[in-house]
């Protein structure tokens, strides 16, 4: 992570594409400005030498065995009732009652 990181407009467009976001021409420069401001602030993490420090994905890891024994049990792999299909489909934007319907996938 370089101290002088500058995200370009093209990079903002690329990231927006990855995130399935369509930004308007007006939004792009604002987002570029804000991203650079936040990334500049985040760059202070480089002051720290983290060589040899394990990456912490979640809290349980830091507490050692205690939480491993108590906090991460999985429920039994057994059949149980799931949500009623009709109730789920009732809140979908478009459905045939059995499946979610979406527009055509391949553009012509």
């Amino acid at each position: 992570m370089s101290e002088t990181v500058e995200v370009t407009l093209d990079e903002v467009r690329h990231v927006a594409e990855l995130a399935n976001l369509e930004l308007t021409a007006d939004e792009l420069p604002y987002m570029q400005h804000d991203l650079n401001a936040v990334l500049g602030y985040i760059a202070q993490l480089n002051e720290l030498d983290t060589a040899g420090v394990p990456a912490m994905a979640q809290v349980g890891e830091m507490l050692g065995n205690e939480v491993h024994q108590h906090g991460e049990t999985l429920r039994a792999d057994a059949v149980r009732p799931s949500l009623d299909r009709a109730a789920v489909m009732a809140v979908a934007p478009e459905t045939d009652g059995k499946f979610f319907k979406v527009p055509k996938v391949i553009e012509r």
């Binding site: 995130a19 369509e22 991203l35 602030y41 985040i42 720290l48 809290v59 949500l83 809140v91």
Partner: protein, 511 residues
């Protein structure tokens, strides 16, 4: 207050349908102090009031004050009258039979709109979930319901819980009931405002980087951050899964302990919930704090801390010492890195979690959805607000090829250092006490155009979020302008009992 409960005597039992609008309005204005859980239960148990009358009273107050014709607080996004009154009637039936009442019998509660509550909308403060009504209850909601609580409705919040002022809601900002030109804090701004305004006795909030505790401090109420894994997140619309917690907002520490008692515990539907036994939180409050070691971190009293907030917190620490606590300096050397670490980890997780909002299964689908890819993009463009887009972009950026190690892995390593700071400090002390926020509530609009200034409002709350420890924010005075000030008590993983005990001592020391 007790006078008000007595006044309810005139309303005949089970006669809620006849209690007219005007009658309720006058009842609402009579109440100057909010009810506690004990007062609600006692009123119902002694038959001096009914759950139905109490629910109607709260709805009347909401009708009179929450909307634009009242004070425009805007804390409730949806009311669930039918479900609430049916529940209240059930509680009244129990009371009539003289049956034992459950722990939260008849207690009016509100639910932050990021939690699923069957039959009610769940917008998460976003247009993208407009119209969505989840077909099930979140576990936290189900537990409140099972304990006899009366669920009044859904509460406003920053969109997808992203914000520190509640100005990011697609359904308008919430006003701070203690100063209507000020923000209530965020993201659980509606949850804190509803309790402060007397619209609900307790509410559920969620906290990812301070979203329960900071609004509690701004509104002068109590907010609990339970340990990561202590309260189930099943049915919570996820923001950052390694950080998100569900917890109570109340007027008193005892009420917070009572609600947490109901919420805490393992849930087979949430694999991150812990099956550790749950302590007796209410019982712990009666134990004296004498001899408890209270750590005071110098890093929480540095530059940027408002002098009035500092004075109030220092006074609180002196009061704890007078109550028999042993005050000990501690060091949390990586504190200044907590906010940048948080904004990498939280946004990275958010960019992944929010990919599910795509117009397929629930909520909004753009009218411009001619093809699948256009549907995704148009729906997300129309549905998400600016702050959500900003965080999705940042999160996607830090996870993208070539940047993962430099940002995401680096932040995870610093997160480990921040957590170690706490583990080392807690080897020496029982709790850590400091300011909850650098300033009291700021004005609506003051920081709305400056994301960085807004992020720094979380400077004292995010470290506890990253470390997974528990904490509580308790009111500890007001500024010269009358704005509430909050002090935070942070505790060891799963040691909510001690945190609440110290919180109760702070509360007892107030005038």
């Amino acid at each position: 207050m007790i006078g008000t409960v007595k006044a309810k005597k005139q309303i005949p039992f089970g006669n809620d349908k006849q209690s007219g609008e005007t009658g309720n309005m006058s009842a609402a204005t009579e109440i100057k102090t909010a009810l506690t859980i004990d007062e609600v239960r006692a009123g119902i148990e002694n038959r001096t009031s009914t759950a139905t009358a109490i629910a109607e009273e709260h709805y009347a107050r909401i009708a009179a004050e929450d909307g634009p014709t009242g004070k425009g607080i805007n804390s409730f996004l949806a009311l669930s009258r039918e479900r609430a009154l049916a529940k209240a009637a059930k509680i009244d039936d129990l009371a009539a039979l003289g049956d034992p009442l459950p722990l939260l019998a008849g207690v009016p509660v509100g639910i932050k709109d990021v939690l699923a509550m069957q039959g009610s909308p769940a917008t998460a403060g976003s247009k993208i979930l407009a119209g969505y009504r989840p077909p099930y209850d979140a576990t936290a909601v189900r537990r409140l319901d099972a304990a006899g609580a009366v669920l009044l409705g859904k509460l406003n919040c920053d969109e997808f819980a992203m914000g520190s002022s509640n100005e990011n809601s697609a359904y308008g900002p919430v006003r701070n009931p203690r100063a209507l030109d000020r923000v209530p804090g965020g993201s659980s701004g509606g949850s804190a405002a509803a309790v402060a305004a007397g619209f609900a006795v307790a509410t559920l909030g969620t906290d990812t980087g301070g979203s329960i505790r900071q609004p509690a401090a701004f509104c002068g109420v109590v907010g609990v951050l339970p340990t990561y894994g202590r309260v189930s997140r099943y049915g919570l619309i996820a923001f950052a899964s390694s950080l998100d917690r569900v917890g109570p907002v109340t007027n008193t520490v005892k009420d917070a302990a009572t609600v947490l008692q109901v919420l805490a515990g393992a849930d087979p539907l949430d694999a991150t919930s812990s099956d550790r036994s749950v302590d007796g939180y209410v019982k712990a409050l009666s134990q004296p704090v004498t001899g408890l070691k209270v750590g005071v971190p110098a890093e929480y009293f540095g530059e940027g801390l408002d002098p009035e907030v500092r004075a109030a917190v220092e006074k609180t620490i002196a009061q704890l010492e007078a109550a028999g606590c042993v005050i000990t300096p501690v060091h949390l050397p990586h504190t200044k890195y907590a906010v940048p670490t948080y904004y990498v980890i939280a946004t990275a997780e958010a960019s992944s979690n929010l990919s599910r909002f795509d117009g397929v299964r629930f909520g909004l689908r753009s009218d411009e959805s001619k093809t699948l890819s256009a549907m995704y993009k148009k729906t997300r463009d129309e549905g998400f607000g600016a702050e959500v887009k900003r965080r999705i972009l940042l999160g996607t950026y830090v996870l993208s090829a070539g940047y993962y190690d430099a940002y995401y892995k680096k932040a995870q390593q610093v997160r480990a250092l921040i957590t170690r700071d706490f583990l080392e400090a807690f080897a020496k002390v029982d709790v850590i006490v400091g300011p909850m926020t650098p300033t009291a509530a700021f004005k609506i609009g003051e920081k709305a155009d400056d994301p960085m200034a807004m992020y720094l409002a979380d400077i004292y709350s995010v470290a506890a979020s990253l470390a997974g420890i528990c904490g509580v924010s308790v009111p500890c005075g007001t500024t010269a302008d009358g704005l509430p000030i909050g002090v935070q008590v942070m505790g060891k993983h799963f040691d909510e009992a001690t945190v609440l005990r110290v919180g109760a001592a702070v509360e007892a020391a107030q005038d």
